[in-house]
Amino acid sequence: MRRVAVTGIGLVSPLGHCAAEVFERARSGRSAVRQLEIPGAHRLLAPLAATVEFDGAEHFEPPQFRLLDRGSQFAVVAARRALADAGCGLLSDQERGRAGVFLGTGMGGTMSIDDGYQTLYGDNSDRIKPMMILKGMHNAPAAWIGIELGWLGPNLTYSTACSSSSVAIGEAWLRLASGSLDVAIAGGSEAPLSLGSLKAWEAMHTLAKVDFANPATSCKPFARNRSGMVLGEGAALVVLEPWDHALARGAAIHGELLGYGLTNDAGHIARPSVEGQAAAMAAALASAGIAADQVDSINAHGTGTQANDVAETAAIKRVFGARAPRLPISATKALHGHLLGAAGALEFVLALLALKHQVALPTMHLAIPDPDCDLDYVGGVARVGAAGRTMVTNSFAFGGSNAVLALRAAD
């Protein structure tokens, strides 16, 4: 197996548009969750979201722009940024054949589909726009990246709900490590903030209530007064390549992707399983060839729902045993919301940056501890010097696909 380097980061996120900005905002605990202003927002019990400052028209010529759902716009812009950061330039014809795109999305082009349904059911009109299928399909973001880059290898879309983009990064890692590909762009994109989507999440009773004292603090992972998750939008992509290739071309390496664990609960469609989550963490360690005591800190899935945070706490204890209480655990969804199919990738990037800067990122809005969540979540304030060299980052999902990535600092 070949070692795999992360050489490029591309972000379109609620916390900002470049790694330095996003890291600084996460480090200082400034939440991007705010009151959501979309038509019909007054019909939401909790009109909250972590939105991205983004006007797609600034990034695309009209002939292409009209074909792109917001999620595809995020994906292509993030891909451009990741490639620019990697500095790998144009690939030769032969190289393009060994270059792949691996993208996660939970809800695909749901805004475009919502728009079509508005026409059909809301307006009672049959005038569905001709581009609805092309904009709405789940594989559109990956396809557009492939078209833009001219990459001819696998162009794959993973949809395992909230673990989608960790799966995408992990599956890319497998192919790079095994030698079947020489470069990949991997991550996720999600633009889920349509009224239809928000109402559906609301109906499941998974969304946080508004904290009226300060709506930006409404998502409270691992806190006793947590009430659910807040949806976010955005994209996060990384460029992955074999370590030796990165060294040979003198690339700046952000960190190493060590391994990937993937398990399925095969149980309840929505209820998290301690066994499944623990098995995924163990599988990631096994794939990375490291022992549990070599892990220095954890990026938690940490959604802020009642069920997840208790189960994840128990799963971490199961894997790390007596060391579990001493591991700094960060849940950054408090700040950037839950990006669903892009969440794992954004958090993978934050974990990379935490290792690079040697800072354990804070879990914000954790003023009231939960006796059932009794580990060290780095509540409220970043901890300088505490991230260590090796991390795991967790992504769990409705449907039961648990994906965990193991990563290490570059030097």
Binding site: E61, R66, K129, P130, L134
Partner: protein, 100 residues
């Protein structure tokens, strides 16, 4: 091709093609094949969709085979004429058999 001064439909279609498909106005001739200018079959479906809004037309829900700008203009003018005729009153040939 015989020279004709552009009619209203011609002017408006050209404006839409320039706006929506970023086509260089100087490359738009009546005998231009729109596919050569980047308006593929899906683009044509979208153009027709937008034409309905732009011209206040209701076109039949069938795929149309139009390749040149002149054909598109002719198609729209024809539809506009039909719509005007329909608004003016039913054509005797369209009377429902047995209704009298």
């Amino acid at each position: 091709m015989k020279f004709t001064s552009p009619n209203d439909t011609d002017i408006r279609i050209r404006a839409m093609l320039v706006r929506d498909f970023k086509i260089d106005p100087s490359s738009l001739r009546l005998d231009s094949r729109l596919e050569d200018l980047g308006v593929d079959s899906i683009g044509m479906a979208e153009l027709i969709f937008n034409v309905e809004d732009e011209f206040g037309l209701k076109l039949p829900d069938v795929a149309v085979q139009l390749s040149t700008l002149a054909e598109v203009i002719g198609f729209i003018d024809n539809a506009l004429a039909e719509q005007r005729a329909a608004a003016a009153g039913p054509h005797p040939a369209e009377a429902v058999p047995g209704a009298t």
